[in-house]
Each structure stands twice: as structure tokens, then as C-alpha cells.
């Protein structure tokens, strides 16, 4: 057989049949479901007289709408969550789908819970009705986000109809300097290639920098694939992946079962000579901590850099686009972005809500105080991340500095739980989207890594975390 890519191997192993020109019917190994989707879709299926084909292959957890600030009840803490979480609970129970419910120690953001529970495995096809499902590609799974109708299709058939995407490899070579993370690498790639570059592609990240990343950093890298336009982002599984997976609740049991799995997983990396439709090579040497200035993730610069001047844009479209983005963001082109006063800092989300992210942020915060007039919050990606952070004393560091310490959920990344940045207010956020209104109507969002966000909370302005620490 000719040389194949990681993507092609997993796709081919899940192909049930071809159903059209370039369109295949694929088997879905793992399906994750969250509160915005679970109740409504399951209810609709029931009303249509359809049953769930393989309830043992779906897992549910509420994350989008749940209150994270002092969660007082098991029903979500706000009116909308109460409705969504209650129907999610009833419907998953009726369908026989496992749920990591509010109040349990396993609840959290789907994309944090999947990997930490060992549900996400290399070589599996994993879907969820959320565009950041690409996160799971960090473990070598083929994973992508789907719409609500497709969620219904997965539940009813345990399959997905899908056009085979083209393949892109982004080879990232070099080392990362201190305070520069995989978040900065992927933001800088999005800045260079643009937010439509990955459209229609499955992206594989490769190269020395990726091999050197731990599994959580790889998940962050893959998480922002959708911001590059790609539904799929993935990294070849290796010994680090196998060590990460081993021993987790739904992972293969240690011994013969795990050995057999690892034998298969070792066959998955792209063969030497495998051909990709598009290749990019990126050097990490020049990458500094990144921060966005506009209303698209591609509007990104080094935290040491200058805000773009619309007058220096080459085309009318670019000029008017830059002007509109700066206007929304309340910024003037030309000056340094560092020094811009901020009102909010959010550390969390499926991009940067894992234990390594909290450790990095805490290392910046230790023995410092949050600036007056800044609301700074930490929302661990899962209850397990929260307990781990507490065991390490990270919560004390954050609380002592003046951060709020929350229960887990999507919170201020998607502003569906009542928490939002006010109109015209400015936030530095470790999440993945700075779209108009994402963190609340007229909210202004600057995306950054956890160290940069933590440093902004201390300084009260956008700041290079390396300046603050040194």
C-alpha cells in the first residue's frame, strides 16, 4: 500500500461505505454531548420515534450554560442552565447515555473531560456538536465539530456522512522561549495564513516543536485549528500520548488490552513519503507571546508589537476592515499594544483551562496582586483540574492575588452562563475567539496565552509577561 497520512489511516479504518462522489459513511467511536445540544436533540429524536443506536458510545456533561461563580445548586445556577441541564439529565437517562453531571467530580468542559477520562483515544473517530472538538486531535484522534442535525444523525445511527477533506501538514520547527506556548504558535500561524486557510482541510501538526510539546500543549495547538478554518487538527500519537492515556477510567486496561492498543496506535503516524495536498513550514525562533488586536483570531501581533495602522493597508477592503475592527475594539492604529488598559482577565476554556495552563498562570501571579479595577477570574476546565490545582495550592495563589476561583465550565469564553464582559469593556482572555460580541454585547476581547493574561491582570494593562516576571 502506498504511503498514507495519519488522517487517511484513521479515516480508512472507519469507512463503512462510500455513499456519493467523495462522500463516505464513517463509524463514530466516541460522541460527546453538552447542555446546549443534549436535551433538544434527544427530545426531537424521541418525538420522531427514533432510538439512540449505541448509547454506550456517547458521553454527556453540562458545560456551556452552567454558572461557574459560586455554584449553589445542581441545576446549573441560572434559569437557562436549569432548563438545559434538567432536560439533559432526563433525556440522557432515558436514552441510557452516561452523564458527568453537575455536582460530580467528573463534570467539566467536554473537551477537557474527554481526554482526562480516557474517552479520547488515539485512532478513534470522535465527534461533538461543538466546533472545538478538533482539540482531541492532540491525542491523535480524528475529531471534528458538527451541527445539531448531525448530532441527531450520530445518535440515531452512530455514523456520520462526510466529504473526505484534503490534507495539510504544518511542520513547526525549533524551540519555544520561556512564556511562549503552543497557543502563541497557533495564533501566529493563524496570523500568517489567515482564518480561512484551513477550510476543507484536515491539518496535521508535525515537526520538532510539536514532538517536544506535552499532551496538553498539543491539545491547545489543535484546539485553535477551527480558527484556522480547519475542522480537523491532529498530532501523531507517540510515547507521551500512550503514557497520558494509560490508567484513565475509559482507557484500555493496563496489560494485554493496552499493549494491543499501543501496537495499533504505533502504526498510525504518517508514513515517510506520505503526500499532503498542502505543506507549510513554520520556524518558532521568532515567535513571542501573541495578543489579538481585532475581531478575528487572524488579527494578531506579538505583545511587543504595534497595532496595525489602517492607512498602511494595501487594499480598500483591508483598510475598511482594519478600521472597523479597531473602531469596535476602541483602539487607534500605530501605537504599541502594550500599555492598553484592561477591565477583565479570563483564564480558562477548552483552549487553556487545563492544569498546565493554571500552573503557568500561577507562576506569574505568585506574590503579586491583581490591579485595582480589574476583574480577574480563573475557571478550571474541569472539576478534576480544579481539585488538582487545589492540591497544588494554586487556588491560594490566585485567591491571594485577588482572582476569583470558579467551578468548571465554558463561562466567559462563550458568555452563555450569565457572566459577560460589559459593553465597551476590555478583556484579556485565554479562550479562542475574539469575535464581535463573543464575551458579551460590545465586549472587547484580546486573546492571549495564560502567562500573558495573568500578567495583564497584575499590570492592569496589556503587558509582555516576560517584562513583568524579570
Amino acid at each position: 500500500m502506498s504511503a498514507r497520512t495519519l488522517f487517511a489511516k484513521i479515516w480508512d479504518d472507519h469507512k463503512i461505505r462510500t455513499i456519493g462522489d467523495g462522500v463516505d459513511l464513517l463509524h463514530v467511536d466516541r460522541h460527546l454531548i453538552h447542555d446546549l445540544v443534549a436535551g433538544p436533540v434527544l427530545q426531537q429524536l424521541r418525538q420522531r420515534g427514533l432510538s439512540v443506536a449505541a448509547p454506550e458510545l456517547s458521553w454527556a456533561t453540562p458545560d456551556h450554560s452552567v454558572t461557574t461563580r459560586s455554584r449553589l445548586d445542581r441545576d446549573g445556577g441560572n434559569d437557562i442552565a436549569r432548563k438545559l441541564v434538567t432536560s439533559m439529565r432526563t433525556e440522557t437517562e432515558r436514552a441510557g447515555i452516561r452523564i458527568f453531571d453537575l455536582g460530580s467530580e467528573q463534570q467539566g468542559i467536554v473537551h477537557v473531560v474527554g481526554p482526562e477520562m480516557g474517552i479520547t483515544l488515539p485512532g478513534t473517530l470522535l465527534l461533538c456538536g461543538d466546533s472545538h472538538t478538533c482539540t482531541h486531535g492532540g491525542l491523535g484522534a480524528l475529531s471534528f465539530g458538527i451541527g445539531m442535525s448531525e448530532v441527531g444523525h450520530v445518535l440515531a445511527t452512530q455514523t456520520i456522512r462526510q466529504r473526505r477533506p484534503k490534507t495539510m501538514r504544518i511542520t513547526i520547527e525549533g524551540e519555544l522561549s520561556p512564556m511562549v506556548t503552543s497557543k502563541d504558535v497557533v495564533l501566529s500561524i493563524i496570523g500568517r495564513l489567515g482564518t480561512a486557510a484551513g477550510q476543507g482541510f484536515a491539518v496535521e501538526y508535525a515537526g520538532s516543536a510539536v514532538r517536544a510539546m506535552d499532551i496538553e500543549a498539543r491539545m491547545t495547538l489543535c484546539n485553535l485549528s477551527i480558527e484556522l478554518g480547519a475542522k480537523v487538527g491532529m498530532v501523531a500519537p507517540d510515547d507521551k500520548t500512550f503514557a497520558y492515556v494509560a490508567g484513565r477510567p475509559y482507557a484500555p486496561r493496563k496489560g494485554a488490552e493496552l499493549e494491543a492498543a499501543i501496537d495499533y496506535w504505533r502504526t498510525l503516524p504518517s508514513d515517510a513519503g506520505a503526500v499532503f495536498d498542502v505543506e507549510h513550514v513554520i520556524a518558532t525562533d521568532e515567535i513571542a507571546p501573541q495578543v489579538t488586536w481585532g475581531t478575528s483570531p487572524q488579527d494578531v501581533i506579538a505583545v511587543t508589537g504595534d497595532i496595525p495602522d489602517p492607512e498602511s493597508c494595501r487594499t480598500d477592503v483591508a483598510r475598511s476592515g482594519t478600521r472597523a475592527a479597531l473602531d469596535y475594539m476602541g483602539l487607534t492604529g500605530g501605537g504599541k499594544i502594550a500599555g492598553t488598559p484592561i477591565d477583565w482577565v479570563f483564564i480558562g476554556s477548552c483552549a487553556n483551562g487545563r492544569i498546565s495552563d493554571l500552573r503557568l498562570a500561577a507562576s506569574v501571579v505568585a506574590n503579586r496582586k491583581v490591579a485595582a479595577n480589574v476583574t480577574a477570574i480563573v475557571v478550571p476546565g474541569s472539576q478534576q483540574v480544579k481539585r488538582q490545582a487545589e492540591a497544588e495550592g494554586l487556588d491560594r495563589i490566585f485567591r491571594d492575588a485577588g482572582f476569583e476561583w470558579h467551578d468548571s465550565g465554558c463561562a466567559l469564553c462563550v458568555a452563555a452562563n450569565g457572566l459577560h464582559v460589559g459593553p465597551g469593556e476590555r478583556s484579556v482572555s485565554t479562550s479562542n475567539r475574539n469575535f464581535v460580541g463573543r464575551q458579551g454585547p460590545r465586549a472587547r476581547t484580546h486573546l492571549a496565552n495564560p502567562a500573558t493574561a495573568a500578567a495583564a491582570a497584575i499590570a492592569g494593562t496589556i503587558v509582555d509577561p516576560r517584562d513583568l516576571v524579570n
Partner: protein, 205 residues
Amino acid sequence: MQKFRQLTGTAAPLMRANVDTEVIIRMDRLIKYAKGELGPYAFESWRYLEDGRDNPAFSLNQPRYKGAPILVAGTNFGCGSSREMAVWAMMDMGLRAVIAPSFGDIFEANCFQNGMLPIRLPDARVAEIAAEVEATEAPQISIDLEKNILVTPSGKSIEFTVDPDRRKALLEGLDDIAETLLFEDEIRAFRQDHRHKRPWIYCYD
């Protein structure tokens, strides 16, 4: 699913690149309102002024484009989150087709699930159509999915292509689930074999 065969109606231009689904429908609206109620909130960040009045600069508010069922849009339209409510909101405000150089992958899939037709044409072609739409007092476009042809306001015929299986589903109003369940036995057989070859996927049962 709602069928799509022919459509003739007003076309409105929205020629910004990378229109994201957040702008199409805000999170606080989609969690509060049901399908059928989202129309007034579609594109609200651009559509209304701060005091709630219509923003006259937003094309779909202008009398000649009001109620348009066809949108002529910029590249990467519908990028961002997977929220299907973006398509619902657009349909609730009367839109049935979008012509653009490219679409966010998940948004495009969601369109096909709901009887909304996304038409991809080369950049230059879309720019030409947008220019015609802007230069015409009452710009009408006719779309014929059976013939894969659209007619611009000036009467120019342009051929387009749509995934054959998606096209068939739109023309006949097919339901994906019912279509897939025709292969139920094959799916079951595949899973048995898959389970035999990769038992660790199922090992926690």
C-alpha cells in the same frame, strides 16, 4: 427537510470577509429563543444602532434589499462556532440562499441540513455579482438548482456546482437519518468487525 428547487428574489450584498456565526446569532439570543423566533436577532450587532433603531448602513435594512431571500457574501462566510442556530436565524429572517467564495465548513454542512442553499463561486465572480446587485435598483437573482444555474440582475447566466449528494437531498427534501438507516445492517456488521479488530474502544462495557 425543506426542499430547494428554484428561487427568484431580491439579493442583498454583505461583502465582508470572515463573517462569523457569533455575528449571525449571538449566544445570549440562541439560548433564549427557539427556532422560528430568531429572525429579529440575526446579524443584530450590525443590524441595529446602540439605541435599538435599524442601522441604515446595514444592507438588509435598506428598502431595496429588505426581506431579500438571497445574500451575496464575502469569503469564509459562517466561520466560527458550529451553532446551527446561525442558519435558523438567517432562515427566520427570510434568507434561503447565500452566494459566496467560500463558507465555514460546519456552517455549510448546517445549511444543507436545513434547506438553505450555499453556492460557492470564484472570488471574482462573487465580486461581479455583488457589483451588479449594488448597481441595480431592484436587484433580482434567479437560482435553479435543477439546472445548476443562476441568473444575475443583468440577465447573465452563471453555472454553479453543488455536492451531488447534497443537491439530491435538497431537491428531494431527503432526510439524512432515514437515508443512512437504509444501511443499518451494514453498519451493524461494520461495528462487529471494528470491535473485533479494536476491542479497546469498547473495553469498559
